[in-house]
Amino acid sequence: MARQRHWLEHPVTQNFLVPILAVVLSFSVGAIFIAIVGQNPIEVYYVLFSQTLGNEYGIGQLLFKTTPLIFTGLSVAICFKAGLFNIGAEGQLQIGAFLTALVGMYTFGVPAYLEVPLLILAGMVGGGIWGFIPGYLKAKTGAHEVINTIMLNFVALALVSYFATNLFNVPATVHTPPIAPSGKIPRFDAFLSGFEGSPVNFSIFIAIAACIFVWYYVQRTKLGYELRVVGLNSKAAEYGGISVAKNLILSMTIGGALAGLVGTNYVMGYKYYFEEGFSAETGFMAIAVALLGNNNPFGVILAALLFGMLEYGGLVINTMVPKELVNILQAIVIIFVISSNKIFRKTLNNFLKTRRLSIEQ
């Protein structure tokens, strides 16, 4: 029997509706916690939304937080496509961003049209090396990438921390000297006064370009085809004459290079130097971003926007509720959104079914 499909049943509607429902529900649960600490949840949420989405400054801050999440989210996602779990985005971004700053501080006098690509490349090379190592070890020795990327995070953090506070630092600080002015990426507020003061800069367009690149690479190129086959069924890849080792190494290297681009946002677009401890664990949040974005480059953008909003929103409401509560709220949202997918879909469809039955009867 042919039957008109209810608009709620359309997969596209559901793909949007389900995460939104999850966010709404998680905010409701968060409200209970806010009420427990003696604040009015509605007031807190009003501040949260009005100051992140209500003006250009807030949007600028949100986008600034979103940019590194896109880079690292893509990093995790592309490795995931190859069947690898990249926990190492944090280390990769640290090395990449540091190398960007390092090259930037020694290349004064280079014109911008060379300097900007050079510094971007430096970041990609730094992160790429840090992704290549676990990829190579996985391909050649079978050493598990989860363990190796975690370990390399420690190494990376210790290395850049040592370099940024001892060898290359401005005395009595934990940051490097500034990069050459020609390597700076312009901020939005240089053109649009509404964004005044917010650090959002044009590196977000690099992030969007990276998304398009990843999508094209995975879906449309020969290597992307190989990468998907390896990720979905490495035995079939072997059978089809596709080198599993090559693709594992390649995807980890590309993933690392993507994470290494985080430096464009912070080093080239905001502070103009590398500072110890700048990233606030973006590389770990990236795992949630990739999962929530379903490892799809455009899904990653949406997920990164949500997490970017939560991160800046957390800061905004911090004067009203303690930091711990902000963390709880973020965690609740993540848990709900990631685990709810199935539950909500089922509930929604059951709801539609019962409704339809009652109409038919």
């Binding site: 429902l21 709404v24 529900l25 905010f27 409701s28 409200a31 009015n40 949840p41 509605i42 007031e43 949420y45 009003y46 501040v47 801050q61 600034f64 937080k65 210790a158 921390s161 040592y162 506070t165 001892n166 005395p171 009595a172 600080t173 934990v174 940051h175 003061g197 650090p199 912070y266 905001y270 502070k271 500072e275 110890e276 401890g277 700048f278 990233s279 606030a280 664990e281 991160e311 800046y312 957390g314 800061l315 905004v316 911090n318 004067t319 303690p322 930091k323 509930t347 059951n350 709801f351």
Partner: protein
Amino acid sequence: MNKRLLHYSLVFLLTSLSLGLQSCGKPKPSGPPNSEVGLVFDVGGRGDKSFNDAAYDGLVMAKDSLGIKYQYIEPGGGADRESALRQLASKKSVGLIFGVGFMFTDDITRIAKDFPDKKFACIDYTYDSTKAIPSNLIPIEFREEEGSFLVGAIAGLMTKTDKVGFIGGMESPLIRKFQVGYQAGVKCVNPKAKVLVAYAGVTPDAFKNPAKGKELALSQYSQGADIIYHASGVTGLGVFEAAREMNKYAIGVDMDQWNEAPGHVLTSMVKKGNMAVYDIIKEWKAGKFKGGMPAIFGLRDDGVDFVYDKNNKPLIPKSVYDRVEQLKQDIIDGKIKVPAR
């Protein structure tokens, strides 16, 4: 049945939330312009039992005795500092904003320039003589070397082995001030005494490594030191553990650290961040905020001191206490100049 319940609760939550948002409108109106104080903590925030907590204590003091309202933010990462300062500065009701820690140096300078109508103060600001300090910003500096001098004198007077130790966290100009002042205090009262010096590392992690602290302390105790002064943050917890194990003395830093190893903490060099915060709020309220120049908190201003209370009184002979009080007075009077580097 269960599913139905889920539907209804979902619908209920949605409607109540949207109704709530509509009816609520804007949050409560805030106080009159420039009446409140804002403060941004260092990463790590409250609960560090050190200068973050001390600064918070100063806010509470100001609230209790001056009737001041305050707001604070605990940023999550490096990029949040500027955003947090800016957020507080852009609130009409906030007139004075503190940044806690030397990491704020660049950010607070920039924000101070962006908000010339607001006042700013920064604890442990890194002073760079080549750069002008905005006139609405007060860098807060402590004479750690003076307090360290006094605890050094106590150590010099009380050592039985003529050997004492110093353990620093991350090697840096700031911690060197503690070391130099301490060494000068020891030598001043006991010229033949030797000071063993060790640092836990060269990165900020050196402030968070109790195992390393214990290792260094055990090594110094076994070399004959009987009193160790630490300026190493959490790393110092390892020093106290070593003192307990070896039945030796240690000297605390920043706050009174008696409770970390009761009976083994000879004294502590206290840095009164709370006093600094309180004093600056008080002056600001009285309309006497003077920016552009560092505010220095030494012995004279009660910004640093050593602990002498009912806990450690039994450990320190009266003669030693009297001698150290005399040295303190000499420093305040300018008779003794304590080196800082």
